[in-house]
C-alpha cells in the first residue's frame, strides 16, 4: 500500500537531491535540538525564583566626598530617613546587591582555617539587622539578626558571631534539613547559623554556586555606600523618584547614583543570556524555514520533473490519494534517514558543546521532540506539492512533454 520498497529503490537510484536533503535535515536536527536544550536551560534559569520580590526592591549608591563626615552616623541617618518615606517597608545599607553580578564571595567550612574540612563557596552580603527585611527574603528556620548581632568593621574589634544562610549552604555542609544552630568558620572566625532561607540567590545566580548565599551582620561604612530599599511594588517608582533629593537634603556633599530596580539589575545581568536565547531562536527559525523550503523546493522540482510519470501512474490506475501517498512516503523515508543521522550528530554535538562551553547535557527527549516536529514540518511541506501532483491529469501520459 505504501510502496516503501520501490520508493526506497527509486531513491537509491537517483540520490543526489535526497542526500542533500538528508544532510540538511541532519544538520537542522543536530543544531536545533542542542539550541532548544540550551534555550530550555536558560529559560529555567531565568524563571527560577531568586527568593527576592525583585519588583518591590531598588538599590542606589551614595558616594561621599566629605572627608570630615562621620560615615557610620550618616549611614544610620540615611537608613532612618529612608524608612520614614511613605511606601518604604525596609531599607538597609549593604556591601553588595544580589543578582547584580558584582560583590564579594568567599567560603565557609566546618573547621577553622587552616584545618582541612568540608567547604562551601558562597556569595555574601554584609549589613545591619534590617538587611534580611530589606531583601524581602523569607526565613524558613531560625531568627533574623538583632541589633546586638551587628558589629562594625574596623570599630571595636568585635567579629560577627552569627550568620544567616541559604538552604543550599546548609544542605551542602550538613545535609538536608540540618544546619540551624551549627557552627561554620569564616576563615578562623566561628559563626553560628541562626537563620536559614529556603531560596536566596547570591550576586551571581547563574554561577555554579549561585544559590549559596550568606548574610553577615557587619557594617562597613565607607565613602561609597550601597543601599537597598523595599517598598510595595506599586509605590517603588514614586519612592525611587524622591531618593536623590531626600539623600542630598540630609547631606549635600555626595553623589547619589544608580537608582535602579532589582528586576532591572537582574535583567542587565541576564542580558547576554537573553541575547543568546534570541539569537538561538532566530537560528532555529531560519534553519527550520530553510529546511522547509528545501523540502518544498525538492518536492516541487521532483513533481515538475516527474509530471509524465505521475500522469502515467494515474493512467495505470493510481488514485489521487496514491499519488499524494507516494510523495509523502518518499519524503518520510528521506526524513527518517535524515533524522536518524541528525540524532547521532545531535548527541555528538551536545557532547562537544558540553566540553567546550559547559552547557548542560543534551536530553534525548529534546532530540526526540525536535525530530518529531521536524518530521511533522517536513510532511506539511510536502503536502502542498503532493496535492498539486495528485491533480495532474492522467491524460498527460499520452502527450509529448
Amino acid at each position: 500500500m505504501f510502496e516503501i520498497k520501490p520508493t526506497l529503490n527509486a531513491l537509491m537510484r537517483s540520490k543526489l537531491g535526497a542526500v542533500l536533503l538528508i544532510l540538511q535535515l541532519a544538520i537542522t536536527l543536530a543544531i536545533v535540538s542542542n539550541a532548544v536544550s540550551i534555550i530550555q536551560d536558560r529559560l529555567t534559569y531565568l524563571n527560577q525564583d531568586t527568593g527576592y520580590p525583585e519588583t518591590a526592591i531598588f538599590k542606589f549608591n551614595s558616594l561621599n566626598f566629605d572627608k570630615q563626615l562621620d560615615r557610620l552616623q550618616q549611614v544610620e541617618l540615611d537608613e532612618q530617613q529612608l524608612r520614614n518615606v511613605d511606601g518604604v517597608i525596609a531599607a538597609a545599607a549593604v556591601s553588595s546587591v544580589p543578582l547584580t553580578g558584582s560583590g564579594s564571595s568567599d567560603g565557609v567550612q566546618l573547621k577553622p582555617m587552616p584545618q582541612e574540612s568540608k567547604r562551601v563557596n558562597m556569595g555574601y552580603v554584609t549589613g545591619d539587622e534590617h538587611m534580611l527585611r530589606a531583601l524581602g527574603a523569607t526565613l524558613a528556620e531560625g531568627r533574623d539578626f538583632t541589633e546586638d548581632d551587628v558589629v562594625v568593621s574596623d570599630g571595636d574589634g568585635r567579629l560577627p558571631s552569627v550568620i544567616i544562610v541559604s538552604r543550599a549552604v546548609t544542605d551542602a555542609l550538613f545535609g538536608p534539613s540540618k544546619g540551624l544552630g551549627e557552627t561554620v568558620y569564616w576563615g578562623t572566625n566561628p559563626l553560628t547559623i541562626v537563620g536559614i532561607v529556603d531560596t536566596m540567590a547570591n550576586q551571581w545566580p547563574k554561577s555554579s554556586f549561585g544559590e549559596n548565599t550568606a548574610l553577615i551582620p557587619v557594617i562597613r561604612a565607607g565613602n561609597f555606600q550601597k543601599f537597598i530599599v523595599r517598598t510595595a511594588p506599586e509605590e517603588r517608582a514614586q519612592v525611587m523618584r524622591q531618593i536623590e533629593e531626600l539623600m542630598l537634603a540630609s547631606h549635600r556633599e555626595r553623589v547619589i547614583s544608580d537608582i535602579t530596580g532589582l528586576d532591572q539589575k537582574k535583567a542587565r545581568y541576564d542580558a547576554r543570556d537573553v541575547l543568546m536565547m534570541r539569537m538561538l531562536m532566530t537560528l532555529i527559525v531560519v534553519l527550520v524555514i530553510v529546511t522547509a523550503l528545501g523540502i518544498f523546493g525538492l518536492s516541487t522540482f521532483n513533481i515538475s520533473k516527474r509530471t509524465k510519470q505521475i500522469g502515467t501512474r494515474r493512467a495505470l490506475g493510481a488514485r489521487k490519494s496514491a499519488i499524494v501517498r507516494y510523495f509523502v512516503v518518499e519524503n518520510a523515508l528521506i526524513c527518517t534517514m535524515g533524522l536518524m543521522l541528525g540524532a547521532a550528530a545531535a548527541v555528538l554535538l551536545g557532547q562537544q558543546l558540553m566540553q567546550w562551553y559547559s552547557v548542560p547535557a543534551l536530553g534525548y527527549s529534546f532530540i526526540a521532540v525536535t525530530a518529531g516536529l521536524l518530521l511533522l514540518m517536513s510532511l506539511l511541506s510536502v503536502l502542498m506539492p503532493a496535492l498539486r501532483a495528485a491533480n495532474i491529469s492522467p491524460s498527460i501520459a499520452t502527450r509529448s512533454v
Binding site: 529503490n9 510519470q309 493512467a315 488514485r319 489521487k320 491524460s395 501520459a397 499520452t398
Partner: protein
Amino acid sequence: MLDMKAISKVYQTDMVQTHALRDFNLHVAEREFVAVTGPSGSGKTTFLNIAGMLEPFSGGQYCLDGVDIGKLNDNARADLRNQKIGFIFQGFNLIPDLNLYENVEVPLRYRGIKSAERKRRVEECLELVGLAGRAKHLPQQLSGGQQQRVAIARALAGRPRFLLADEPTGNLDSLMARQVMELLEQINREGATIVMVTHDPELARRAPRNIQIVDGRVTDFTLYQGRSMDTAMAAGG
C-alpha cells in the same frame, strides 16, 4: 466492449472553443483489433484519452464493458482503468527510477494484489515479452523496442480485457515495430480487445478493422480479413 454515443469534447479557453470530437459514435466489440488512423489534430489522441478515461468528455454517453463512465467519480474511473484497461504509450512511459520488474509491477500494486501473486504475474509477463532475464535492468539500459515490450508487459500484467495503444511503434525502427505488432496480434488472438491509434497506414492495414477520424468524427471504416459488414456497421455507427 466499448460503446460511444454522440460523444463530444470541447476544449475551452478564454477566447476560443475547440471541438476536438463532435457527435462521435463508435462501438468496439469484444476481442476486436481496431486501428484508428487520422491526420494530425483530427482528434485521435482525444478519442484515446476519453476511451481510456484519461480525460472527461463534454457530452454524449460512453459505456465501457457495460459501465456508464459518465456516472463515475475520479476514484472509480482510476479503479476501472486499473482493472479493465492496459495502456501502451508511444513514448513507452516507463518510470526511469524503477527497474523492469518494478515497472511491470506498478498497476498490480495499485490493485492491491499480494506480493507473491504480483511476482508470478510480473515474471509471466516479462517472460511473454522475452525480457525475463533483464528484470533488474533499468529502462535506460534497454533499446526502444525492448522498452516498448516492457510497456506491453506492464499493460498485460493486470490482465486487462481492453488494450489501448497510442502509436505503439511510433518511436521504433521497422524491425522493432514488426516485433511489437506481432506481439499485439498474439495478445489479441489470446482474447484481448485492442484499440490502436497509429499514423502508419502499413501498420493499420494489419489490424482487422480500421477506423479513420477526421475533424473529430468517425468518417470512414475499412474491413479487412473477412469481418462481416453487419458487425462493421454496428461498430462504426
